[in-house]
């Protein structure tokens, strides 16, 4: 038990002002008793540190997948008043717009008689792992368009359907992106990695919709029990990582310039209205657009494989939605009875806008936005829906995934990659990865149980369960 915490509800805990010096608001995190032993003191301190930042509104929050991160904890959510608050790369992370998308297919499990071949072909079609290079040969002008227009650029290049971009958060193209704030160094990392999956916890998975919790919402989202679906989890690759690195240096200086007192230099930030803050926001938005385009390019590669292997049409593979879980957004929320312009940082947290909220595709407007929560390798993933409760309590936010409990070195010491591969194989789950070490690092035992994490947000009402997906085949970077 960590001293100084106050339980305020069955799944709610408060970190009171004074837990660390200089807190403007309390911290709040959501956790069940079953998940409580996974709570790290360092993550709670990070949650409290965020509460010291200028302009923070209501609470510094963390979702049930809370764990130790860079600056903010993973699972962290914080809203800052637009006129008095700050923006911080530590509240977004190195992997800007790391996110997830869900595709449906007209296939059922019985149709997957050639699953191994499909997985092998996807592994060959989508570059994965450290050192993998893109098959695209982007010109500087194309890269610029990718950063400005996001998914829309990829669709215009023939790598998607008109409906795809509309089914992304921000319609796959975040306003305010300005590539002039993206350095040449970032661009030189972005060109060879466009359309690549990356490594670590990024994955491409063939899944089956195995349980429907909310048939009405599932119908609206176009998902049926027994349907084969595809989930893609990746981000803005080296381009986004370099944007973070570059702007951290600028914002370190801004902290001195604007006399901002911080308990941790990883929270380097600048006022939202300052030139430095605006420059980071526009570079971050450009990297976010790169990430949406990146997931769109990978979608195109997957569609080509499925069309050739399964004899289905390109348009038969439909994008349900695409969510960001590492991003800062300018949004309007009700604060003390007034509509207020805020910057919501979601760092390992997912937007969960409820019914009739702006930026939710019209087809989903009455249901709320789809919220996609990936599991760890070999475990279930979930589709949820955004809720009015999330708008009231968490600035329209929910969890993003399972959250690690074992370090990579512990995982490698205690778990054998080939054993995990064999165990998953017995459950009918095939795994492709560049090395068994990558499988050990990302083994199911290294993560919190994803079912418990989504069960907490469902019981809190900050998003509601719609569908559970079980893995059939996994490609790890």
């Amino acid at each position: 038990m960590i001293d100084g915490l106050t339980r305020t509800g069955e799944y709610e805990w408060e970190v009171p002002v004074g837990f660390v010096a200089g807190m403007h608001v309390p911290g709040k995190f959501f956790l069940s008793d079953a998940l409580f032993p996974t709570l790290e003191e360092g993550a709670v301190t990070q949650l409290a540190n965020v509460a010291t930042m200028p302009g923070i509104i209501r609470h510094s929050m963390a979702m049930p997948d809370i764990h130790w991160g860079y600056g903010f904890p993973i699972g962290g959510v914080a809203a800052f008043d637009y006129s008095t608050g700050v923006i911080s790369p530590g509240g977004v992370g190195f992997d800007i717009n790391c996110g997830v998308r869900l595709l449906t297919t007209p296939l059922t499990v019985k149709d997957l008689t050639n699953k191994k071949e499909i997985l092998d072909e996807m592994y060959d079609a989508v570059p994965v792992g450290v050192g993998a290079r893109s098959s695209l040969r982007l010109s500087p002008k194309q890269l610029e368009a990718m950063m400005t227009d996001g998914s829309v650029w990829a669709v215009e290049e023939g790598m998607g359907t008109a409906a795809d971009a509309a089914c992304c958060e921000e319609s796959g193209s975040m306003a305010g992106a300005d590539p002039s704030h993206v350095s040449q160094k970032a661009r030189s990392r972005g060109v060879p990695q466009s359309g690549t999956l990356g490594a670590g916890n990024h994955f491409l998975e063939i899944q089956v919709a195995s349980e429907i919790f909310d048939s009405e919402a599932a119908k609206v989202y176009g998902v049926e029990e027994g349907q084969v679906c595809i989930m893609v989890h990746c981000g803005s690759r080296g381009l986004g990582h370099q944007v973070c690195t570059d702007h951290l240096q600028i914002l370190e200086r801004a902290v001195e310039k604007y006399h901002i007192s911080l308990p941790d230099r990883q929270l380097a930030c600048a006022p939202l209205t300052s030139p430095e803050g605006k420059a980071y926001f526009s570079a971050m938005a450009a990297a976010a657009n790169y990430a949406w385009a990146n997931r769109q390019v990978i979608t195109h590669q997957i569609r080509n494989v499925l069309c050739a292997s399964c004899g289905i049409g390109y348009d038969d593979i439909r994008l349900v939605y695409d969510v960001a879980h590492n991003v800062a957004k300018i949004e309007e929320h009700d604060v003390d009875g007034k509509r207020t312009k805020v910057c919501v940082h979601r760092k390992g947290a997912t937007r969960a806008f409820g019914p009739e909220c702006p930026d939710v595709p019209s087809a989903y407007a009455r249901t709320g936005q789809p919220v996609i929560i990936p599991g760890s390798m070999g475990t279930s993933s979930y589709l949820l829906k955004g809720t009015a409760e999330a708008m009231e309590r968490t600035f329209g936010s929910t969890c993003h995934g399972a959250g690690r409990v074992l370090s990579r070195s512990q995982a490698k010491k205690t778990i054998k990659g080939n054993q995990v591969r064999e165990d998953l194989g017995r459950e009918g789950i095939m795994v492709r990865a560049p090395h068994d070490g990558a499988i050990a690092e990302e083994a199911p035992g290294a993560y919190k149980p994803s079912g418990e994490v989504v069960s907490v947000v469902d019981r809190l009402g900050i998003s509601r369960l719609v569908v559970r997906f079980d893995p059939l085949g996994v490609i790890k970077g």
């Binding site: 860079y70 290079r133 370090s407 070490g437």
Partner: protein
């Protein structure tokens, strides 16, 4: 080996020791390469760069960030890393070979170099630090 991985839930934390600051920095560079790539690299090509910093910690962060950028954009796995420092300017000379998936693949992708706990200390004639790679 003068670097070892320490426990960190989310990222890769390396503890590094060396008899002097330039060696400490080059060992941090080797720790970065060992995280990202498997197997050994030959010395087929040579690269060099300089970075500046106002203190040793900032200089180390700049050096590792530049090394990360160089290895990704040149697609080279570096085996020998030589560092010299004069008046806040670090010069690095590095040799390595082009990334080969069969030989070097399967490592952990590093997204950035964190300032978390980055403090160089001296004890019993040895320099040491913990450096966190965001993965």
């Amino acid at each position: 080996m003068t670097f070892e991985e320490r426990e960190h839930t989310a990222d890769i934390l390396m503890h590094v020791t060396a008899p002097d600051i330039p060696t400490l920095f080059s060992e941090c560079g080797r720790a970065l390469m060992a995280t990202m790539y498997r197997g050994k690299a030959d010395s087929d090509c040579v690269h060099s760069f300089t970075v500046t910093g106002t203190d040793n910690e900032q200089l180390l962060q700049a050096f590792l960030s530049e090394l990360l950028w160089l290895t990704e954009t040149e697609n080279v796995v570096f085996s020998d890393i030589s560092v010299s420092i004069q008046k806040g300017t670090l010069s690095a000379v590095l040799s390595g070979e082009l990334f080969n998936r069969e030989k070097h693949g399967g490592g952990t992708e590093v997204k950035g170099i964190s300032f978390f706990g980055l403090e160089i200390t001296q004890m019993n004639g040895e320099y040491e630090l913990d450096v966190l790679f965001d993965v």
